[in-house]
């Protein structure tokens, strides 16, 4: 297993936000966490990359207990796209993407020629080569998310964890970004753990869906099964139907 989450419990003070959650992401596959706001998705993904303290349970990436490792070792195992990435003022695309190589060269050394080659490769693959000298802050939302994804790809890890990578993007840019990620997953044998709000896209881009409700796993499994289950509607507290349009599942909310 590339990522394994075992009996994970997370508390903020006396409030339990995630309780006894266990799931595993096999190497080279894509798992997406779904569930209503406040179900604990963000807490789980940030615990997976070691940024969130865990009350109970254990998170392993490539077999290593993530909370036992130093930041630098951790950064060599998993890269992370947070829900709201901080874009440093004045940072160019090339400089920003190069920050993804920090764990490799360390903060006391300059990026090596190999680091630069890797960054160049990522910029080319993500179609950002023409933007390399532009300020990240001056780019559109869609381009900016692509730059953030490029930074995580430059980190060169086998595991990528993304928290709502498509938040704030229009339909077209959402799919462009996820397509780009899928291409990388296939070509570089990456393992992905993501959270997504849009249930239709979530079901299209995952090998496994984990449905969370109030901090617990309500259901997990094959995307087609999860979106068709009555548990989905129960978890969201509203009626959700699956309509098949030209062979593709579309999840539609129904107003009662």
């Amino acid at each position: 297993m590339s990522i394994s989450v075992e009996h994970l419990t997370i508390r903020y003070g006396s409030t339990t936000v995630v309780e006894d959650v266990s799931f595993a992401v096999p190497a080279g596959s894509w798992t997406t966490l779904i569930g209503p706001n406040g179900a604990g998705k963000t807490s789980i993904v940030s615990a997976v990359v070691g940024l969130q303290r865990v009350a109970e349970g254990i998170v392993r990436i490539e077999g290593y207990d993530i909370h036992e490792l130093s930041e630098r070792t951790r950064a060599g195992l998993a890269a992370y796209v947070p829900q709201r990435p901080v874009i440093p003022v004045g940072s160019t695309v090339a400089d920003y993407v190069t920050l993804g190589r920090t764990a490799s060269h360390g903060v006391l050394r300059a990026p090596s020629p190999t680091d630069r080659e890797i960054v160049d490769g990522v910029l080319e693959r993500t179609g950002l080569d023409a933007f390399r000298h532009r300020e990240v802050g001056s780019l559109s939302g869609g381009e900016r998310q692509r730059v953030v994804l490029a930074r995580t790809l430059a980190q060169g890890t086998r595991v990528i964890v993304l928290d709502e990578p498509t938040a704030g993007l229009d339909v077209r840019h959402q799919l462009d970004l996820l397509d780009l990620l899928r291409k990388e997953v296939v070509e570089c044998q990456l393992t992905v753990l993501a959270t997504l709000h849009d249930l239709t896209t979530a079901s299209h881009y995952a090998d496994q869906l984990v449905l969370l409700s109030a901090g617990r796993i309500a259901m997990s499994g094959n995307p087609a099964d999860v979106v068709r289950s009555p548990v989905l509607s129960e978890s969201y507290g509203m009626s959700l139907r699956v309509v098949n349009v030209e062979g593709q599942d579309v999840v539609v909310p129904l107003r009662s």
Binding site: P88, S91, T102, V107
Partner: protein
């Protein structure tokens, strides 16, 4: 982290080094006994084994025993305060941070006041004033760190708030002491608080040099880490930065270096906030560029300001802080408006 065109960065470096040379020559040549800059240069070069000094022995004493230590202490103070301000701005991700943010100034102020009111009738400040000021400054920062910088919940915000609390506490104690003191010692405290290089001697230079040199070096080396830190704590950790350790080391170096300087020269304001800012406007937001330039520009700026402070109203001296603000503020406004004109 703008990658400003490297041509511009080169130009800024040339300007910075020229101003450093200018500052050194002015610091040594200008004063009540004017000495030709050329002769100061030959004397300066003779110290490096190049040629012979053409100064008379009287001028030699003026240049190397009176102005020399004052110039060198000015270089150290300007470099330290500027680089500390730059690092603080990086660590706190706040362009308004200055080296006094965590209570260094209030701590040094209390320490110095204790020493200065101790013997209210003495004409000169006790020789141990710097030591007590240093103890006050460093204990204020350590206290701030203990209150706001430890534990899982600590953020830069808790640290800044702790700094505000500690500074208020120390300032209130200092004000109380001052209020109990004689008019003469109040005046001395007041003069001390304004900051001055007038008390400089080679012994005060050698006293602070080791600390300040190490602290400046640590701050400059930390530039790359501060660039990573501009991603915010979580993302910086996710790309492999040990945020806690970096913050501790960088804050310790910039605070202790500032404490050492402040305990000798008093509270010189403005340099720490304005110099890194001006450099940022010129070369972009990368701390790898800002910090080394802050060392050079801060050093030259303070020595030039001190040259004005000791000559403008000679034989009396202007408080150095007044000069740094009076020169720095308009320069800053000018650069800001020029940059705005360029970008709009």
């Amino acid at each position: 982290m703008t990658t400003a065109p490297s041509r511009r960065v080169m130009l800024v470096w040339v300007g910075a080094l020229t101003s450093l040379l200018l500052a050194v020559v002015c610091g040594l040549a200008v004063g009540p006994t004017p000495i030709a800059p050329g002769r100061v240069l030959t004397s300066l070069l003779s110290h490096f084994g190049i040629g012979h000094s053409s100064l008379s022995s009287f001028d030699q004493t003026v240049v190397w025993e009176l102005r020399g230590p004052r110039m060198v202490l000015g270089l150290l103070a300007g470099a330290m305060l500027s680089v500390a301000g730059g690092t603080y701005q990086g660590v706190f991700r706040n362009p308004l941070a200055d080296p006094y943010l965590l209570g260094v100034a209030a701590g040094a102020g209390l320490g110095a006041t204790l020493a200065l009111v101790h013997d209210g009738n003495a004409v000169n400040a006790p020789t141990w004033t710097p030591l007590i000021a240093f103890v006050g400054a460093s204990s204020a920062v350590v206290m701030t760190w203990l209150i706001g910088g430890r534990g899982q919940r600590a953020t830069t915000a808790t640290l800044v708030l702790a700094g505000v609390a500690v500074a208020s506490l120390f300032t209130s104690a200092q004000t109380f002491l001052q209020q109990q003191a004689s008019a003469q010692s109040i005046a001395r405290v007041y003069i001390w608080l304004l900051g001055s290089l007038a008390g400089a001697s080679w012994s005060s230079v050698t006293l602070v040099l080791p600390y300040v040199a190490v602290c400046i070096a640590v701050c400059v080396v930390a530039g790359r880490a501060l660039d990573v830190l501009s991603l915010g704590d979580d993302e910086a950790r996710s790309v492999g930065l040990s945020v806690r350790r970096v913050r501790l080391v960088v804050i310790a170096a910039s605070s202790l270096g500032t404490a050492a300087i402040v305990s000798v020269v008093g509270l010189i304001g403005f340099v720490g906030i304005i110099v890194p800012h001006v450099i940022r406007l010129l070369v972009g937001t990368s701390y790898r560029r800002i910090l080394p330039l802050s060392v050079v520009v801060g050093a030259s700026f303070l020595v030039l300001a001190d040259t004005v402070a000791r000559t403008a109203l000679a034989p009396s001296e202007l408080p150095l802080g007044v000069v740094t603000a009076a020169i720095g503020a308009p320069v800053f406004v000018l650069i800001l408006s020029v940059r705005r004109g360029l970008t709009s």
